[in-house]
Subunit: 420 residues, 2 copies
């Protein structure tokens, strides 16, 4: 008896899942442990930048007014009264006829109204004292970077949800964020179903395959910014599977199962959702691969029933689970970036449903090209190793040809997109 | 006294550094700990895929020859003698007039020469025994995925140097790579120089700034795939700085210092290279920012003297240090991907030297656009937080305009490129 399921569109499925989106709890994490995570609050400038008037060059701080009338052949001579490096505070105040030797980044001494570069001054020693002579007039304020001229204290600099990369790290350091507010990583339980599954360290047996989906999904969970708990493999047996899943739900924020959602005789997930009292949000989507992708909800907790087919499983995670995770991490762009690219080979299949094809992109000039990652058999796990994008061919379309512009979702980008 | 240095081109500088490239030592790492690292050896298929003849559908395994002559209104009837799920071995051999109920992924039973889907068979029970009736002829081999039809044992699947992402993980699992051969992460020491530097948790003081470069570089080191040791901050004092650096060189594969490479009075790195007996590969590059970037070599060990200016420091790492690290990790594409993009705003400055501008890219249609990440003052640390690419404007060029095509290096991509 084949159960009849009603297929919904991919965007309807995304919406049904995202109805349950919520922001994660916030935790405070050491600056030294925050790489690759996402900010839960915006970063503000905690001080003016620069926080003092400073010199952009190695040179001499002086009073511009002392150079009035200076010209070629008519030098003014200034006495060098101090010598300061970056980080050393000037001790003296410049009086008329005086200058202070100053290094890049150093604070402008009191009394100075300009800086002139080494190259434009002539240094000399008179009676053991250092002097400079200058044969041109200098403008008030020349070569002084004023306090707050780059950024005023309190300015918002980086928005919540931004992933912490080296450039963000530099800002956090500059503004003294010794701890950073981040969303706690959602904990995602991963369970593989199927009696045919061997573990990665087991030798092959007739009729069996090694479990690749669960580990692939764990890796996708981490890429999305969450934490995984690999719960294990379930045999195709209802009662024990039900107990394991019920127990797992107590330990995780989100539960992913792979396999068991189809309409085969050993596909137990539909019965398990029913026994749990979970509300099935959908169990058929007009997409290939992954039409049997199922999402259920129990007291606000989401259960993702991904297909046991590796490509379908991969696609299901990226389409439905990843945005929930990224939203929990305060991203305002939780969806995969969708761009257009030029197809580099014919794709002659018809697309009765929206098709997601394993692809990778390259660039030529400023055009984006998209290439098939391998044979488009949904059971070819190895082409996933070359996949950095998913080509989206809308349902109801005919064959696509080399040179056609197609939509592409970028799976290895952290840029995100506001809408699906 | 300003020392006169001779500037070399960026590509000459890259070449001088890459003369010292070497592959890293190989270590064997658990499958469970390999995410985000790079393969030191290619991944091979350790078995045929599939490793047995298997069914792509839920249906019935049967002898195609038994359906000869079947047609609408002229059914053949087959007795269902067994029922097998994926991972369960068929116990019986199909004889004439028999069929076995079989699930997706299950091994084809002996004697069967084809599989027919549930939907195309009519199931019935006669005297308590299960039968199917079929009203069409079936071709030999139909719906049987043959052993090795996807991949033959021994086929190279993923090349050395590939970064391990979820798709690669799936292949490693499928082929039983319970341990994976990876290059040991190069250990990169990071030292900041400058008396003006405060740590991230210290309150601002007059004349001082917080150290952002060192932490930014540590984060860049990790992004490139290496491991950092943050050694600390040096005061502008020759003897103690020399001792610290000499000691550090014993503990690391590569040493990065930030600051102290210019020609200011407190720039100690040139004297330290001399005292160490290190060979300076270059100390001036025709680029902005980062013209003072210095690389030295001592007994095959590289010392990167990056500028103290945050942008220059960032650029120097990405141009010169990152490819050395990625090559050590067995990448054959150790350079940043260089693409072209359409400039979205005027950039009126002249470019006496090759200029690297902090930018980020977006897409419109299948075109790549490039945007300035912020004010292009080399001291504006915050624009680095938006930087995902570096726009390259060749030396000797004039103002660029909105709509111009420009070269762009992608810093947040792991795709790499063979040539600089």
């Amino acid at each position: 008896m084949v159960e009849i399921r009603e297929a919904i569109t991919v965007s309807e499925a995304v919406d049904r899942v995202m109805n349950y989106k919520k922001r994660g709890e916030i935790e405070e994490v050491s600056f030294h442990e925050c790489d690759g995570r996402r900010l839960a609050e915006p970063v503000l400038a905690t001080n003016d930048v620069p926080s003092f008037h400073k010199s952009p060059y190695d040179g001499f701080a002086l009073r511009a007014e002392d150079t009035v009338g200076a010209a070629s052949g008519k030098p003014v001579q200034l006495k060098v009264i101090e010598h300061i490096g970056a980080g050393i505070l000037p001790e003296k105040e410049i009086q008329q006829g005086e200058a202070i030797r100053i290094m890049t980044g150093a604070q402008i001494p009191k009394g100075a109204t300009a800086v002139e570069m080494f190259e434009k001054c002539v240094e000399k020693t008179v009676d053991g004292a250092a002097y400079i002579s200058i044969e041109h007039e200098i403008t008030q304020g020349q070569n002084i970077i004023e306090k707050g001229s780059e950024i005023k204290e309190g300015t918002p600099l980086i928005e919540a949800g931004t992933r912490i990369d080296p450039g963000v790290k530099a800002s956090l350091a500059t503004f003294g964020y010794s701890t950073v507010k981040l969303a706690k990583k959602p904990v995602v339980g991963v369970i593989a179903t199927g009696t045919e599954l061997l573990d990665v360290d087991e030798p092959l047996e007739p009729g069996k395959i090694r479990n690749s989906n669960a580990y692939m999904v764990c890796s996708q969970v981490e890429r999305a910014g969450a934490e995984f708990i690999y719960i294990g493999t379930l045999e195709d047996e209802l009662e024990s599977s039900y107990e394991t899943i019920k127990e797992a739900l107590r330990k995780v924020d989100i539960l992913i199962t792979t396999g068991g959602v189809s309409v085969g005789d050993f596909d137990l997930m539909p019965a398990i959702y029913e026994k749990l009292g979970a509300q099935v949000l959908f169990n058929k989507v007009a997409q290939r691969p992954g039409s049997v992708t199922t999402v259920a909800e129990l007291d606000g907790q989401l259960l993702f029933g991904l297909s046991g087919n590796p490509s379908a499983c991969y696609v299901g995670f990226e389409l439905y689970t990843r945005p929930i995770i990224e939203y929990a991490l305060y991203s305002n762009r939780p969806y995969l970036p969708r761009i257009q690219a030029k197809l580099t080979e014919d794709f002659p299949k018809k697309n009765p449903y929206t098709r997601f094809v394993r692809t990778y992109i390259t660039y030529e000039g400023n055009e984006v090209l998209v290439h098939l990652a391998g044979m488009d058999k949904s059971n070819v796990v190895t082409s996933l190793a070359r996949t950095t994008s998913l080509m989206v061919l809308p349902g109801g379309t005919e064959a696509f040809e080399k040179g056609d512009l197609v939509d592409v979702l970028l799976v290895d980008s952290f840029a995100g997109q506001e809408q699906f």
